[in-house]
């Protein structure tokens, strides 16, 4: 009794609609951005042209995109995993910092190891640092019932202040005036994939992590359990799952991924810890995750888009004087449009295609 034909057409229409959304959002955002640039007294055509040329015209600048891409992927995955498990981790930034701190300790004070041991070791300490910082938020939630949105964000600020302090008073070499740690050992540097660019081992690691997280969440029994807890913890409990253990696992993985973001920045591009270590990847990662609907594959795209915009914004500012806030606005508009279109497409699907909200 199924009229398969008409329904397949419907489904196709639906898929196409879904796929178009991000591009539509991008175009609208660039258009509005263009208007703003125009009112700033700059020719938008020229500005965008310059942006494209400088990003794609030069491998060195293009490789810059990956400096942002790697930590963004890790941060977005961090948010997505937690979200799937029902934990709202908005403190990725702090966990990134804390992971960077522990990674710095392992990178600076452990010397003389071969790279193939030192690199995994520093990554691991970064993971543990981020996981530890997120674990605190988790304990506060589980033991005291404190809301994790507040917890994680507060701990984020605390971590940033703490790292400032630690760098200033403990990690700064005695003979230096600049507040920054020493460089980590060369053996902990990510090898470059293309010489003289920013494309290093971190790119491969971040993509690998996407694959691992995807298989973990969607193909493994443990990931199934985590998603079940995130979707309906009552039903998960009745089905015999251990909610506490599941949630704790999610918290540790999520924090650890943010910690890896910190470690990968340290080992791939920065090499030392500084007070303003991250330009907000932890927060931008949330945007990238939400925009990808917390889908690991989607995160590759959104993280790349955000990374492009970052480089583009820098280029437009340096080259034609477009103020950075305008570029941020473009990013903001994209996020709003995508989240808004989520709502619209839901409505679209209930009305024309079906799906109970």
């Amino acid at each position: 009794m199924f009229d398969i034909r008409s329904s397949i057409i419907n489904q196709k229409k639906y898929k196409v609609f879904y796929a178009i959304i991000p591009f539509l959002a991008l175009f609208i955002a660039l258009f509005i951005g263009g208007v703003l640039i125009f009112f700033a007294g700059i020719n938008p055509w020229k500005a965008y042209n310059y942006m494209l040329q400088s990003i794609f015209g030069n491998i060195r600048l293009f490789s810059e995109v990956f400096t942002h891409f790697v930590p963004l992927v890790f941060c977005a995955l961090s948010f997505a995993v937690a979200y799937k498990g029902g934990f709202f981790n908005v403190g990725g930034e702090g966990q990134l910092y804390f992971g960077a701190l522990t990674a710095t300790l392992a990178g600076v004070y452990i010397q003389g190891l071969p790279a193939f041991i030192h690199i995994p070791l520093v990554l691991l300490t970064g993971f543990i640092g981020g996981a530890f910082w997120c674990w605190i938020a988790g304990i506060l939630k589980i033991k005291l019932g404190a809301d994790e949105i507040l917890n994680t964000i507060m701990l984020s600020y605390l971590a940033i202040l703490l790292i400032n302090f630690v760098v200033m008073y403990f990690l700064k070499p005695a003979n230096s005036y600049i507040s920054q740690s020493e460089k980590i050992a060369k053996s902990a540097y990510f090898p470059k994939l293309i010489p003289h660019t920013q494309i290093n081992l971190g790119v491969i690691l971040s993509l690998l992590t996407v694959i691992i997280i995807y298989y973990f969440l969607y193909r493994s029994p443990y990931g199934y359990q985590i998603r079940a807890i995130g979707e309906n913890s009552d039903a998960a409990n009745y089905a015999g799952m251990n909610i506490l253990k599941g949630t704790m696992t999610v918290i540790i993985i999520s924090g650890g991924l943010a910690g890896l973001a910190g470690a990968s920045m340290l080992m791939g591009t920065q090499y030392r810890l500084t007070p303003a270590f991250s330009p907000g990847y932890g927060f931008e990662g949330i945007g990238a995750a939400v925009m990808a609907r917390n889908n690991p594959w989607g995160i590759i795209l959104t993280a790349f888009l955000f990374a492009l915009l970052r480089v583009g914004a820098g280029a437009m500012q340096r080259g034609v004087g477009v103020p950075l806030p305008i570029s941020w606005t473009i990013e903001g508009i994209i996020m709003i449009l995508i989240t808004g279109s989520e709502y619209l497409s839901n409505k679209f699907s209930t009305n024309l295609i079906g799906g109970r909200a």
Partner: protein, 513 residues
């Protein structure tokens, strides 16, 4: 006598991916009638009503309301036409009072001001007109389900609706509450309301309706005047075959004791005693029915047996093993299966697909998991089998649960738990939301399990069901067992008195095999 036609649906068609939910539906509703919709699970009743209420838009077809061709694009449009729908899940804010809930979301007449006194009077007037007795100041969370439903109805009336849609309103009510609802509905009809009523209980449909329309596979099979039809005919129209209303039961042949509960006490967080001095036992191959009005400790008792709630004292043994220190997963592995009453909340994950929901308890065990990963080939096959056996209507096993019809969602849970033969099965409200054919099927399944030696603890607020299925019946009232009776030698009256707490019977007059 010519009836005034208030609503006519013309050639309404609605498809979902892989499903034609409504197939050229033509339906006329008379003014001031109570019109029932009957049909198997997944026949398209809810979909049709959602179209009428503006939640879905049809692929094609026309709606003529009060003689005018109308387009209903949202519930707002529906309300402004006077069409209101009472949802099964109430949309009330628990902390708010009845009054606050009713005015919630309504535009004020003088915007920044909310003229509370005036609104209060207006609501009281509506309530009086329709003879609905409600205290407007009580917080909704303190009200029983039946009264909350009343609040929903009053809210809808207050919004100006005189055409009401009630989709399975009685499935959440006790039989007594159901009768109260019917009184209210008849009063509404007197005052000029038109009502569309959906239920799977033929008794109710025969009691309340003026006319009855039967749907099957998305199509209208026929409309009957109540007085010219009977339950047999209706179920034949619905299912397309004879449905037997009597349950054939073999003699009970109990084996060894599977569950023994002794002196169980439980308090809730506020220190109120929820369970008092409960003693029960069940043997393999028998069904112990627990009769009682909903909310007398049934859920807590079942949860306690399954390790989901802690008891304060007493002990529960399954196959001679103390379970107090156990956990739900261990108990499941030992052969305990539990089907909670509120399946949407405790039994299903709406955003997961059918297959994922079917393996919710087994996913980590081989062969559902192989090595590090889920064995999706096996899971797919297994769930396809459950879908076929339980006649779950869906185009694929990968459809999200929330897209199934209400009854088919129920079937997923039943199919999941009944596909295995556990040692002890605890089942609450086995047939809620199921059509007559599915009820018959589930009854047979339960009896089959019993005959295979499963011990079954049955909780049902439907007394007929309890009487028909059980080998013994214990009556629970305010967390206490009022006594045990033999369903063959007792009647509804006696159990009714015990359920109301006014009669007590010494437990265990029945001899043990």
């Amino acid at each position: 006598m010519a009836h005034e036609i208030i609503l006519s649906l013309k050639e309404i068609t609605k498809t979902f991916p892989g499903v034609v939910a409504n197939d050229h539906i033509n339906l006329e509703i008379h003014k001031r009638e109570i019109h029932s919709l009957l049909g198997e699970n997944g026949a398209g009743k809810t979909t049709l009503m959602n179209i009428l209420y503006g939640l879905y838009s049809p692929n094609s077809g026309e709606i003529v309301f009060n003689g005018k061709n109308v387009k209903i694009n949202s519930p707002r449009d529906a309300i402004s036409l006077g069409i209101g729908m009472i949802h099964q899940r109430f949309m009330l804010v628990p902390r708010f009072s009845v009054f606050e809930n009713i005015i919630l979301g309504q535009a004020s007449e003088k915007p920044p001001l909310l003229e509370k006194k005036k609104l209060y009077k207006k609501i009281a007037k509506v309530a009086k007109k329709f003879n609905i007795k409600l205290d407007l100041d009580i917080p909704v969370e303190n009200l029983s389900v039946g009264i909350q439903q009343k609040v929903e109805i009053l809210k809808t009336l207050y919004q100006g609706a005189d055409f009401l849609i009630l989709d399975e309103p009685t499935s959440v009510l006790t039989p007594q509450e159901g009768q109260n609802l019917f009184k209210d509905l008849l009063a509404l009809k007197e005052q000029g309301c038109t009502i569309i009523f959906i239920s799977h209980k033929l008794k109710e449909v025969m009691q309340i309706s003026d006319r009855i329309t039967v749907l099957r596979d998305g199509r209208v099979i026929g409309t009957k005047e109540k007085f010219e039809t009977n339950p047999q005919e209706l179920s034949r129209l619905m299912v397309g075959r004879e449905v037997s209303f009597t349950i054939k039961k073999k003699d009970c042949n109990p084996g060894k004791e599977v569950l023994s509960i002794q002196d169980v006490f439980m308090q809730n967080r506020k220190g109120l005693k929820i369970l008092k001095n409960i003693c029960l036992n069940i043997r393999a191959g028998e069904i112990l029915g627990i009769a009682g009005v909903d909310g007398n400790g049934q859920k807590e008792l079942a949860d306690a047996i399954c390790g989901l709630q802690k008891i304060n004292s007493g002990n529960v043994k399954i196959l001679d093993e103390e379970i107090t220190e156990s956990n739900p997963r261990k108990l499941y592995e030992q052969g305990l299966s539990y089907i909670p009453g509120d399946r949407k909340k405790y039994g299903l994950i709406p955003n997961f697909n059918i297959a994922e929901n079917i393996v919710i308890k087994d996913y980590y065990l081989p062969p559902f998991t192989r090595g590090l990963f889920l064995n999706s080939a096996y899971i797919d096959n297994y769930s396809k089998k459950v879908i076929a056996t339980y006649d779950i209507k869906t185009p694929s096993h990968l459809v999200q649960i929330k897209k199934l019809s209400g009854g088919n969602q129920q079937k997923v849970v039943l199919g999941r738990e009944l596909s295995k033969y556990p040692k002890l099965l605890i089942i609450m409200q086995p047939t809620q939301g199921l059509d007559v054919g599915a009820c018959e099927f589930v009854y047979n399944k339960l009896l089959e399990a019993r005959d295979k030696g499963v011990a079954i603890l049955l909780f049902s607020t439907d007394l007929d069901e309890t009487m028909n299925l059980s080998d013994r019946i214990a009556v629970i009232y305010e967390g206490e067992i009022m006594g045990e009776v033999d369903p063959r030698s007792t009647d509804v009256g006696e159990i009714g008195l015990m359920m109301a707490g006014s009669k007590r019977k010494k437990a265990n007059a029945i001899e043990r095999g």
